[in-house]
Amino acid sequence: MTSKSGIHEKNLEKIFYPDSVAIIGANKVRGTVPHDILDNILKADFNGIVFPVSPKEKFIAGIKAYKYVLDIEDPVDLAILVFPASVCHMALEQCGQKGIKSAIIISAGFKEVGGEGVERENQIKAIADKYGLSFIGPNCLGVINTDPQSRINASFARKMPEEGSIAFLSQSGALCTAVLDYAQAKHIGFSKFISFGNKADISEIDLLYYLKDDPKTKVILMYLEEVSNGNALMKAARDVIAGSGKPILILKSGRTSEGASAAASHTGSLAGSDEICAAAFRQAGIIRCSDIEEMFNIAIAFAYQPPPNTNNIAIITNAGGPGVLATDAAIHDGLKLATFADKTTAILKKNLPRTANINNPVDVIGDARADRYNIALSAAFDDPAVEAVFVILTPQSMTEIDLIAREVAKVSSHYDKPVYASFMGEADVQEGIEVLQRNKIPHYPLPEDMCKAVATVYKFHQEKHDAGDNIASFDDVRIDNARAILEHAAAQNEPFLTEDTALKVFAAYGLPVMESYLATNQEEAVQFAEKSSYPVVMKVMSQDIIHKYDLGGVALDLKSATEVEAAYNTMMNNIRTRQPDANIKGVLVRKMIPKGQEVILGVKRDPSFNSVLMFGLGGIFVEVFRDVSFRIAPVSEREACAMIDETKSSALLKGARGQAIRDIPAVVEAIQRLSQLACDCPQIKELDINPLIVLEEGRGCFVADAKIMINHTVKSS
């Protein structure tokens, strides 16, 4: 949400449902944006008044044109600016003076071109703020509302889409026209169609909140090129999904690993922008799609049919091979083939040929006509164990493609259960596909795509979607202590905290650390080892040494004073030889943590999502196995558990192959405490706890090694 969100909420209604529209910069030249927008509005049979505004035309398309918007005597709800970018500010200023509160700025030549364009964009934003005006764009295709109450095509797309229940938002205008063409061919309709361009004023966040309450929209699709405020997007998505139950499907481009390469920690190098984005979307309940086709495959399953209450499906096919393919795909995607009731198999046995398969998947045999599909469909729908019916067809010489499609539509209309179809092929099955599409039966060229789409719908409805408010806050944390340490390090320009100091930060947040001491000479090392009790660990502490293992700066499992003395001398010799200029702060001495399962916990800052948490299999091979999961902080207990469950190594914690079951609740708590630390202390740039050693059930876990990289440019709020 932004400071203008309340204003946008009010003004957005008039963008989609204006009583009057001024097209500012309209002209008579066919094939130009200013002309075609006016033409589209007139052709779409807009339910309101249109005012062309043109500096030199008296009439356009038989409608009186005005030199300035201020010349229009009647009130204007919506202004559509199609002037060149260089004069948009003048037009918008007049809109403000006229009292217009809603605008769409189609014109390009703003932030996207850099330099002067950035200034122009700032200028129009300032004008909008001055007048409490909200605008979509600039640099966009426009907006379409198919609701008969408005029927406005305020875009320069080639066509007005059919009315439907899918809303589509896009940062790319050009993609919008491709999507409109794609959708028209498949008879997919839209409730709202919005190209939001540079999102200089109204953003995708504002539009999500608007669509949450839009009664015409059941499913929200979005194409995004950049996530400018990831946390706001996550909050909006959660609010929309929890508040309205509407699914949000996002196609996000820009799957690059930029930003990961320069990282100084394991977490930093593993948490690429795409992985973070994927984790954030999943956390917020957003369904991420990899391409347009997948997006619409899932969208029509949501939009056209009720969701299946269970994952028990029936498959009806006239082809054995595709039936098996569909079965494999269904099982792979988490669906189940329902076990038919005796009554169902009896009906099928009585009415289908002997060669037919009367169990699930039902094979009505290649020569099946519409009557056999009718019998199988009715029997499947009537079976209480069946929650959804998948119809597969391949075109044989006697296959009544068109009639079978009609039969699917007719029979399914008598039931509340969902039905989906895959008429395989292309040319011969086209007529049947058209029948299915016109009757809002989701159709998929391949059964595998059908299974994936339906499984996605099923999972979405099974998941618990909350507004993300169930975050535990530990009140035993000492926030001031942690911040003081971090701020001191930042003031001293230290790039990272040595482990002895990092452990103090963790201790302040209740993360499990063993008591440790910093010895500055051999005698102190022995003294602290005795205090800790053997066996002990010793590690060299220096701001100049980031990889202390590589330099021989770590000694493990020291069982006596003699071993401690020897290790101390060896360590000092190693450092003096391998990095003679290193300024040694001392040697950390602490009790050796018992053997356990090693995991890694980490934090990374992301420009879009801020605090990113990582969990995974720990140790030195973390980058090799990449068995890690991510979440955006803060995380709830449920999310912390899910982070662990998502990794393959969770099996090791749960006692795979006879190993001891580990203290998973202690790890869950550690993740939540780390989440709180990451949110409270922006001075942490990156952080690794590697390893966190997880002991057997009830014995806890302990930080065995840690690194905190400092961000010098931020202060606590």
Binding site: N27, S54, K56, S86, V87, M90, A91
Partner: protein, 79 residues
């Protein structure tokens, strides 16, 4: 050439290119916003000024000039 003469000749060119009555063209008029020049006419205006005054202007800078008064000042820099 004085300011008045340059302005009269600029307005003459503008009226010819945009097919307008010269009396309807105010010095502060914006070529696009007030007079309705499109991108092609903006190029024609630059060519018209060059021909009228026998000068050769930097095209990018000339196209960024937005009003009659600014055009007068810009052209005077070449005279």
């Amino acid at each position: 050439m004085d300011q008045k003469e340059v302005q009269e000749r600029v307005i003459k060119v503008v009226a010819k290119v945009l097919k307008m009555d010269s009396t309807a063209i105010a010095p502060e008029a914006n070529f696009i916003f007030d007079l309705g020049a499109d991108s092609m006419q903006s190029l024609e205006l630059v060519a018209g000024f060059e021909e009228e005054f026998g000068i050769e202007m930097d095209e990018d800078k000339a196209l960024s000039v937005q009003t009659v008064a600014d055009a007068v000042d810009f052209i005077k820099g070449y005279l």
